[in-house]
Subunit: 343 residues, 2 copies
Amino acid sequence: MTLEDVANRARVSTATVSRVLNGVSGVRAATRARVLRAIEELDYTPDLNARSLAGGQLRSLGVVVSNIANPFFLDIFRSIEASARQRGFDLIVANTDYEPDRLASSINTILGRRVAGLALVVSETVPPVVARIAAELPVVLYDGGAHRLKGVMNIRANYRGGMHRIVEYLCALGHRRMAFIGHHTRLGPLHERRQAFLSIAEEYAPQVKLMTVANVDGMAGGQQAMGQVLDSGFRPTAVACVNDLMAVGALRELHMRGIAVPGDVSVTGFDNISLAEFATPPLTTADVPREMIGRLICDALVPPVGGDGTRLRKEIVVETQLIVRESTARPAARPRRRTSSSR
Amino acid sequence: MTLEDVANRARVSTATVSRVLNGVSGVRAATRARVLRAIEELDYTPDLNARSLAGGQLRSLGVVVSNIANPFFLDIFRSIEASARQRGFDLIVANTDYEPDRLASSINTILGRRVAGLALVVSETVPPVVARIAAELPVVLYDGGAHRLKGVMNIRANYRGGMHRIVEYLCALGHRRMAFIGHHTRLGPLHERRQAFLSIAEEYAPQVKLMTVANVDGMAGGQQAMGQVLDSGFRPTAVACVNDLMAVGALRELHMRGIAVPGDVSVTGFDNISLAEFATPPLTTADVPREMIGRLICDALVPPVGGDGTRLRKEIVVETQLIVRESTARPAARPRRRTSSSR
DNA sequence: GTTGAGAATGTAAGCGGTTCCAATCTCTGG
DNA sequence: CCAGAGATTGGAACCGCTTACATTCTCAAC
């Protein structure tokens, strides 16, 4: 089924069919109806490849995510999709599994499809080639870390602030021995997050004892990391995890070892994925407004219907919000040791 | 950057560049090298649209899933992606949220991109139009229910068998009052699953007491459904859920009401998503080999490198496996009521 | 009935590849 | 040294659609 078939059936030229298809004004109502009927009867589907080749409006956006299995990324993806669909765009996704190499090749594949815009929702540091790409089409980077690329809009959550609130909260509860569980800490943005924990913890409680462990993302990674902490002999009263998924894994390990949460150890996550609420116990975490982020990304990529005079904003920082649930509490009442011996 | 730019730089014709790009034999090594260098220097990316328009090899597959937020579908998707990537194919996804209308439009969008094959991993009943599509390209349907469409290969898990094992197991433990929690039971395949539970339970324990509740997919849906069961006054000793995600939601509700699992109530899931293992308590469930399913789907869609004489098999049924964890146990020792009164 | 502006529709040139077929090379054997 | 088979490479048509430009209609005003 091609445009020509439709044109023949409707006894018009392909140009007219194209006009009808694209809602261009200047087609007589009767003609339009005839064309629409022909389209209907032949149930014709335009070839999107030919369309974008021919220079029609690009109607799709590219999205690259680090780990689609992590609900955090998935939620953002879904939010972008919802916004995009509303504007008549569809999405092309690629997943990198945190491998910088795959980031580059994914970007190429997507670019090969001539998308209208590109969203990089990744925790890897993006290659410099992105700056060149940004000259040709709108590019939005989520969580790109400090690297500020020319022409690339940066959206990020204030992780430092969120972590600040979490650590502050834990300290206020009385915790002094803490551990941090993360993954892929060699990757820029993720490393940064660990640093944030360290510096904030240090600032808040100079006498704090710390340990950080890294592993792979996911529940299994969190469980394993928690095991490492416990096996090391270090007995933190609180464990902060880089995300909720790992926190759930940590909870499991604690549960299996008969360590009560929050009785013996408090655990915190980050992101506030829906699972956080369904964990046992429900996780104290920092909410990252993924829905809003997805919307912002889409807004940035789709040329707004109004004037195009407005250039992209350089950076948008989204705030997080501390969500206190039941995985955190005051530490067990034994840290008096030092105090009592001094009296 | 177009083919022509590369051709000029390498001092050859576009035809030759194309041959190099597609690995067609019959290009002198020296020429090939020259072309490759030009490609490198210009860092040229072929326009996939133009390529598929021109009738080159189609290098992408379309996948439609019902609910990408459900890890079950996500896992299958990822498995397909892994297999596809290995063969040099990439994926175009669409999500229907269980809405039959969106199924139709998703299929159109994907077809608009001229994919090499189409996988429908959906719980909705597929529209008859699919049969027509199947005449043009390979189509695989997962979980398509009873509707056997001409030319469409059907892959499905033996849900009935899995449910059989679950119910059998629960009955063997001594359960007689059971509930079933599902979602979207008006959709064919999902309805079938509920029926399977009903008929099997009936067969196994004629005196069984049953209740079935339906809601939306997801943890929240499971929690709500569990609430409905309890509010109704019915006190089952075992609750079977249509999938793990809903089971986790059910667990949460039980936990909040102070009902012990498996002490007071046993709970089972289905699918064996990774979360099942991390739930509290870990879920007894039926493992559906998603990895294998994804591979089978990909194998069916990608024309095997060997002879093409082999036509698609009509149907493949994948077996499930009972995974016993800690969410199930014998019912509390009070169901003697009837027996004791008769003595 | 003409005329002419503006509306409606048709014509045809690409968009960036692939591939059939023809043209040109490269060699081997006579 | 030349013919001719086989290996390389170039030329150009075409894939399905959009769009600038040309052509044809329509109809009000003269």
